[in-house]
């Protein structure tokens, strides 16, 4: 046996257990999701019945699903844009301004990222608490008591209120990523631009953003996917999809169809749909931002 084949065998032996686990716990369930989405199945004891694409057809006649999709779309649009914008501005300010408390702010802004989502959701449901919450008490203190409202109990405000929580949770995390990126940009560039008379704002748009572009591209995809997963916990704890389903998101709807309505096949179809949508969004955002790098 030559050295090369032995080496190959050794590598294969090392990889196999990991590969087996990966196939068993990642690939196999994923295939199951795709397969079960074509069945009528309560997920309890019955034989799954093949119904072709009926689940997918039903989805587009299901008003609640469409509302959940719209709500999710709103969050996927608003949250990443604002999160990344705030993160970028904060990162740039903290690295450029030579503040003494830089390290302190860095830690404080990063703090939400190490809290569990459930804790964050409970925290914010008390911040929005209609009578003793921080937001309404603050407004009353400023003499704006008339503006106080049940932020999570009104269909006009509930999605924005949830968006703020999601942004607060994620902005610090992306800020730290951007700060690491900005630290990697040569100071010579800023110095040269400064000598040429470029203002800080011009430097931000013409040096910081182009130099960070590759990181921004990746964070856009992370952020969009983050909204999908995190919104489940935040919505379940803070609003339970209420009032009257105006904060229902696709993940909470999927869960309730699977586990409270015993509609496993349909829930899997929703799962497949979300999978395809997020894949498409990632591809689209990748394509759209590609041009910018040239």
């Amino acid at each position: 046996m030559s050295m090369k084949t032995r080496r190959g065998l050794f590598i294969a032996a090392c990889l196999l257990p990991g590969l087996a686990l990966f196939l068993l716990f990642k690939v196999y369930p994923t295939i199951q999701i795709f397969q079960k989405s074509l069945y009528l199945w309560t997920g309890v004891g019955d034989e799954p019945k093949f119904i072709g694409l009926q689940n997918f057809v039903d989805m587009f006649h299901d008003d609640v699903f469409l509302l959940a999709l719209r709500n999710t779309g709103f969050l996927m649009l608003v949250v990443p844009v604002l999160t990344l914008l705030i993160a970028l501005v904060n990162a740039s300010l903290l690295t450029q301004s030579k503040l003494k408390e830089r390290g302190f702010y860095r830690t404080v802004f990063f703090f939400p990222s190490i809290l569990s989502f459930v804790v964050i959701a409970i925290l914010w449901s008390f911040i929005y608490h209609p009578t003793m919450g921080f937001v309404n008490s603050g407004l009353e203190l400023l003499g704006l008591g008339d503006w106080a409202m049940a932020w999570l109990g009104d269909q006009r405000t509930v999605l924005w209120a949830l968006a703020v929580t999601l942004i607060w949770q994620a902005a610090g995390y992306y800020m730290v990523m951007y700060m690491a990126g900005i630290d990697g940009i040569s100071p010579d560039l800023y110095e040269a631009a400064g000598l040429d008379g470029a203002t800080r704002i011009q430097q931000f748009f013409h040096i910081t953003i182009p130099m960070l572009w590759e990181i921004i591209r990746v964070t856009i995809i992370f952020s969009i996917n983050g909204v999908l997963t995190i919104s489940f916990v935040i919505v379940s704890v803070m609003t339970a999809g209420g009032p009257d389903r105006h904060s229902e998101v696709v993940m909470t709807y999927l869960y309730s169809q699977a586990f409270t309505n015993s509609n496993f096949g349909y829930a899997m179809a929703i799962g497949v749909f979300i999978f395809i949508i997020s894949l498409l969004l990632a591809l689209i955002s990748n394509k759209l931002t590609e041009r910018g790098s040239h």
Binding site: G43, A150, I230, D244
Partner: protein, 478 residues
């Protein structure tokens, strides 16, 4: 990287939890199994037939899955020990968990369900609905028709009236019992008894009396009413008795049978008129209620921010650590009537015991079920779990073990406060509708004054017309 990292954490903790859960139940099995086999090592089947009145079981092993919630598991452990003593040679393995549905689901899917299950708790109940939809439960009618003791009256005479006939026991409406009753709870409106006694406020008999209290509430610096805003389903505790009060059993059947015509009826307009009145009348609904979860709203009620809240007999225990206003005392009102000549009412909720159709040992499971309704068991249940079984006279048998406010509520039921109870007919398999969600969730919008009762009624009519259509198609397929 972040979302991925989160996923891995979740996956890891799921694995960890399931491993731990597995350990826990196995250990317990071991503990239970040890005592009978040690005390009774020889010829188990012979001795069983002796003491159990000539009853013989081919299979002496019973696997029992129970929900471990507010009532704990001690009762189940003790009653299993007792059963094994009275039926020597039998062996009961108990699996208990707050997430019992997650533990039994894979076993059911694999066609190897436990022999006997007590499933409760909103996280777990959907599995029962699934089993009902699949027609995968054992028919228990015979158990209740047989005498409780040798030569005595049939077991069904012991059960609280109306329970076995209701849909929560007889889900297909054909009079056959598939779900046996266990603990029952009483639900309705609660108030602070001390406040009513001290200020000499009369407990309202009718809804008009009730609404008249908005002024009294204002004098006492509180709103009339609050509820568990995020979970409008709690409002059924007022709505269901009211439907019965206005339209009688006929209207209630229409409601629970998902009949679209209900949503055009006068009963509907009167009952939902109450909701609209709460939304519109000054000082009726506590500010911000719609955004509160159950703990937040119940705490607000106990702190004296509102005069009434709907909840069940578990209330006192659930909120035992919550802050409250001075002298707070639980008082139970139930649901007021529409006119003075009608009685006050309350809604009951009965927990369910089932034997899966595919159980390996249905005969012993039935014997165990019967055993649970013995006086000894009723007392034991009150002592260990502070629960009251849905049998006649259970309130008195349990008196020494439960709190006074609970006893008063149960006693009132025993003495004939009119109780209603029911469950929605199952929708067609594969239907996207969940009757309870469809009916109660939009009430948030009525409370917000963003939806009128007429618009709501029209929406419900469309939904339930659709539901009926699905049921017909489903019937045609089978």
């Amino acid at each position: 990287m972040k979302p991925k990292k989160w996923l891995t954490t979740v996956a890891a903790s799921v694995v960890a939890v399931s491993v731990l859960a597995g350990c826990g139940s196995n250990n317990n099995n071991g503990g239970n199994a040890a005592s009978p086999s040690a005390s009774n090592p020889s010829s188990p089947s012979a001795s069983a037939s002796e003491s159990a009145g000539g009853k013989q079981f081919e299979n002496m092993e019973l696997n029992v899955a129970v929900f471990q919630g507010g009532y704990g598991r001690e009762y189940w452990d003790t009653i299993a020990e007792d059963f094994m003593k009275d039926y020597p040679g039998t062996k009961i393995n108990i699996t208990a968990s707050p997430k019992i549905a997650e533990l039994v689901r894979p076993k059911i899917v694999a066609g190897n369900p436990p022999d006997f299950m007590y499933i409760a708790g909103s996280d777990n109940l959907p599995i029962i609905n699934g089993l009902i939809k699949d027609k995968a439960l054992l028919d228990l009618t015979e158990v209740f028709n047989e005498p409780a003791e040798e030569g005595g009256a049939p077991l069904k005479d012991k059960i609280l009236p109306g329970v076995l006939e209701s849909r929560s026991s007889s889900p297909y409406g054909d009079g056959q019992v598939y779900l046996a009753p266990y603990n029952f709870g009483v639900m309705g409106l609660w108030y602070n008894k001390t406040l009513f006694d001290e200020k000499g406020i009369a407990v309202p008999k009718t809804w008009d009396d009730w609404f008249a209290l908005t002024a009294t509430a204002k004098d006492n610096d509180r709103a009339l009413f609050t509820y568990q805003g995020l979970y409008p389903g709690y409002l059924e505790e007022m709505i269901v008795p009211s439907i019965y009060s206005v339209g009688g059993q006929e209207a209630l059947d229409q409601f629970y049978n998902l009949d679209p015509e209900f949503w055009k009826s006068d009963t509907f307009k009167q009952v939902w008129g109450l909701i609209e009145r709460i939304a519109k009348e000054d000082n009726a609904l506590m500010k911000g209620t719609i955004a509160l979860n159950h703990t937040q709203s119940q705490t607000a009620f106990m702190q004296g921010k509102a005069m009434f809240i709907p909840n069940g007999t578990w209330f006192e225990d659930e909120m035992k650590d919550a802050p409250r206003e001075d002298g707070f005392q639980f008082g139970f009102l139930g649901a007021p009537a529409f006119t003075a000549d009608k009685p006050a009412m309350a809604m009951t909720n009965v927990e369910q015991l089932v034997i899966p159709a595919k159980a390996k040992n249905p005969e012993l499971a039935k014997e165990f079920l019967k055993y649970l309704y013995s006086d000894k068991s009723v007392k034991l249940n009150a002592e260990k779990s502070k629960g009251v079984l849905a049998v006649k006279g259970a309130a008195d048998m349990s008196k020494e073990f439960i709190s006074e406010s609970m006893y008063n509520v149960y006693k009132a039921v025993d003495e004939g406060i009119v109780t209603v109870n029911g469950a929605f007919k199952s929708v067609a398999k594969g239907s996207k509708y969940n009757p309870s969600d469809e009916i109660f969730k939009p009430i948030s919008s009525i409370m917000n004054k963003q939806l009128t009762v007429d618009e709501y009624g029209a929406k419900m009519y469309d939904i339930f017309t659709d539901v009926q259509k699905e049921l017909e198609q489903n019937g045609a397929q089978e």
